[in-house]
Symmetry: C2
Subunit: 204 residues, 2 copies
């Protein structure tokens, strides 16, 4: 393996190991030596890549931001219902919060009192929900009297609440729980008679 390739791989391993330790212990309690030993690298190698624990947290947030963007990069195609896109993206986000420790640690860092990062994952998620619901409004998909910004507030706050509650009880991040949320919420957002069409395309 070329030297550069090995360095990239070590860096990725360190980010993942730090995310695992942050995920169980939190940022402040996480120890640098636990991270290097989890990653199977020396303390010196860790410091070569990341001069401090804060540098590791910043790298986790940057990587989590990149992964969140893969979920929220899409705008609805002309033939696609924006609400359908929103439902799918939320399922994808929850699936990744369950399975991807880097994304999960990135979101958790955003709620840690002792950490002030530059990246605002919750804000990015909320903004994307807002713009997707705005395009639902433009296309006349929302029920009369539904302001897209109010709907975005409710959907964003609910999903952030699921994520916060899911940190101690993973059932909150299950597809069943999210499916029930949407079954409750969609008919209350959509112009009458459209909810069925969104569900028929396969939301569980």
């Amino acid at each position: 393996m070329a030297k550069q390739e090995r360095a990239v791989r070590t860096r990725g391993t360190l980010i993942r190991s730090a995310a695992e330790i942050f995920d169980t212990d939190g940022f402040v309690a996480a120890s640098i030596s636990a991270i290097s030993s989890r990653a199977g690298v020396s303390g010196g190698a860790l410091h070569f890549h990341f001069p401090s624990k804060s540098a590791l947290a910043e790298a986790i947030e940057a990587e989590a931001e990149r992964r969140l963007r893969l979920i929220t990069c899409r705008t609805p195609a002309p033939s696609e219902c924006p609400l359908r896109l929103l439902v799918d993206a939320s399922h994808e986000l929850f699936d990744q919060l369950n399975n991807d420790v880097v994304l999960r640690a990135g979101f958790s860092l955003g709620c840690e009192a002792a950490w002030r990062g530059e990246v605002d994952l919750h804000g990015q998620w909320k903004d994307w929900i807002g713009s997707t619901l705005a395009s639902a409004a433009d296309r006349g998909v929302l029920a009369d009297g539904t302001a897209p910004e109010d709907a975005a507030t409710v959907v964003a706050a609910s999903t952030v609440g699921f994520e916060a509650l899911g940190r101690k009880n993973p059932e909150w991040l299950s597809p069943q729980r999210l499916g029930r949320f949407w079954r409750f919420m969609l008919p209350r957002l959509e112009r009458e008679g459209r909810a069925e069409a969104v569900f028929q395309k396969g939301t569980q």
Copy 2:
């Protein structure tokens, strides 16, 4: 001041000071010496009341639980709309989360990765929402097809989301934001024609 009275007062001051330090630094980063100096007592006096930082966290959670119960102790009177009670209690909770650092620190502890307490404030809040919405259903106040447990999930998750987002941006805990939430949500929960009556009684 009698000796016992002074001890009670010192204990209260220590709980409040610990909550202030936990609120800004988080549980793990909070230092015992910062807490005793904030409280204006010696390290020895602190240890006399609380043998460890965990004991302080437990006392904060117990006190936060007592304060939450003062908000959620009520069941709707026969002449009272359960949804009205829910709206009022949520405004009271948010008002106290803004102004009462002990309650706020109690809720934050519930989301700290490194802290495993016995008290589940989020769960207690959700359970109370559930039972209040169940009595709304019993009284025929909920819209047809609205399962009280699904409505409780959405209201609980949203309010927990507001609380989580409010930790870094207090605007999420403003009465205006919560008022907009209810203005969006109530007409979607209630049997048609009732929402107006709930709002006319004075929700801002």
